[in-house]
């Protein structure tokens, strides 16, 4: 842990079965009423969007944008912002997974400030509040409903632009497990492993702090206990709520403390080989932990103490996560993803310059990362 840390949480969080019903009250309390909803086609078709719209009594629906794709990109954000502007919307509502919520954050930026999205690329470029926004996650993994990040794909230049500002965080997050029960087992498992990655990596990050560690520990506990249940029985509301909370807590933790090596590798696997983010994070996590734990002191010792009452540290945690991957029917070897061994050096090179490497608890260059990838192959 560094001798300096900050912690910031601007989002009101409401959690529990049926809390969707509270949404209109909070929108109206913000003294805004023209809502523009941002979502994707799947949620439009499976009835989730209808369910959300049906509770919005007293609120005007300015419009619905349902074109968000898994990797939202600049042109899409600008299109949604233009449409939202034309409808005179004054409140943004994101319903969906991380991509929908990140898209809405970026739309909020363009809608509130004008100009092009790329004008705000960088760090510290958004220094005053944006318009009000609420986020309703329908997956339990990214924690985007509370983070100060928005990742948007720059298709021309083949990388994800990171927008970072406390003002990007939604004003309101509603964690209603009834909206996640239709999530299929594979997506439940992968998004849950993403949340575990946020929790574990923020716990040992070079920017971590006591608040982030407390939240990350709680998130890990919830995930180890509830992810297999949520995967096996999608309609288990208690497990679904626990996973939404875990994702949320881990989101708050990593929004403040950042992530590490498994995320750097997952970003590279996503960019170069289109491996889904949660799948890649889960797969790389045990191998990254083993690499990071081979130093004194083992940075995971404190975490295994809190979670399992053992000072065994990284080796133990890595084994537990591999078991969790198997229990959730997720791939645990890169070879299972159809990657060629020849692909690995490019992945290692790309990961070595990823921002997440700079808060990893152990220094690692492209050669080290290649060794980690080979151990995961």
């Amino acid at each position: 842990m560094s001798d300096y840390w900050q912690f910031y949480l601007p989002t009101r969080i409401i959690a529990g079965p049926g809390t969707l019903q509270d949404l209109p009250e909070h929108i109206l309390a913000s003294e805004h009423r023209r809502v523009f909803l941002i979502t994707d086609r799947v949620l439009r078709q499976n009835g989730i969007v209808d369910k959300v719209v049906s509770v919005l009594k007293g609120v005007e629906m300015a419009g619905i944008f349902d074109e968000v794709t898994p990797d939202s990109e600049v042109a899409l954000v600008e299109k949604a912002a233009r449409l939202a502007g034309e409808t005179g919307a004054d409140y943004l509502l994101a319903v969906g997974g991380g991509s929908c919520i990140d898209t809405a954050k970026a739309v909020n930026l363009v809608l509130s400030r004008g100009g092009n999205l790329r004008d705000y690329e960088g760090f510290g470029q958004i220094n005053t509040p944006l318009g009000p926004m609420a986020a309703i996650p329908t997956t339990a993994g990214t924690g985007s409903e509370v983070t100060q990040y928005a990742l948007i794909l720059d298709k021309q230049n083949h990388y994800k632009i990171t927008f970072l500002s406390p003002y990007l965080a939604p004003a309101l997050a509603i964690l209603d497990p009834e909206l996640t029960i239709s999530m299929p087992p594979g997506l439940t498992a992968a998004t849950g492993m993403d949340a575990l990655g946020h929790a574990v990596e923020s716990f040992v990050s070079t920017s971590t702090g006591p608040l982030a560690r407390g939240l990350a520990t709680e998130a890990c506990e919830l995930i180890f206990r509830n992810l297999p249940r949520a995967v096996a029985a999608g309609d288990d509301l208690a497990a679904r709520l626990a996973m939404l909370l875990a994702s949320n807590l881990a989101g708050i933790a990593f929004s403040n403390a950042l992530v590490g090596c498994a995320h750097a590798l997952a970003h590279a696997l996503g960019a170069l080989r289109e491996v889904p983010h949660g799948v890649a994070v889960g797969l790389m996590l045990p191998h990254s932990i083993r690499f990071n734990s081979r130093q004194e002191p083992d940075p995971y010792r404190e975490l295994t103490c809190r979670l399992f009452g053992s000072t065994a540290g990284g080796e133990m945690l890595a084994d537990m996560i591999t078991r969790l991957l198997q229990e959730c029917n997720l791939p645990y070897r890169l070879s299972q993803l159809g990657l060629a061994e020849d692909d690995l050096p490019a992945v290692a090179g790309s990961a070595s310059v990823d921002g997440a490497m700079y808060t990893n608890p152990r220094l690692a260059d492209a050669e080290d990362l290649l060794v980690i990838l080979q151990s995961a192959y």
Partner: protein, 140 residues
Amino acid sequence: MGVFKDAEQLYQCIAGMMEICSEDQAMGGKIREAELVIRFVYSDPDSQITVDAKNPAPHGYFTVYRGENDLEPEVVMEMKADVAHRFWLGKVNLVSALTRGEMKARGPIPKIMKLLPAIKPAFAIYTRHLQNLGYQDLLA
């Protein structure tokens, strides 16, 4: 007051170090390949340095400009001069500094991240440069 007593001293230290780096084949070569124009805007003391690796002067792999100029940078980094000083001493984690707001950056950040491994030797060069200038007090 900050580490540097005035802009002149900052230029002597930081721009001076960058000029030494511009002639270093390993480091300069990698920075040249990035073809980036990057501007550092400092406060306390107010000053700015622009590094042009797109159209460098004939000598060196990139050109270092002191003070204001008309170049159009792709990336602009803003920070207190003290943060810059600590950065070049190797004591600042760039990502943490950016997320905490100690540094602000406008433009494509991955291009900067990519250069970080390449500029590592600059930390030692900076320390040596300050010693050569007789600024041991700045290293304390």
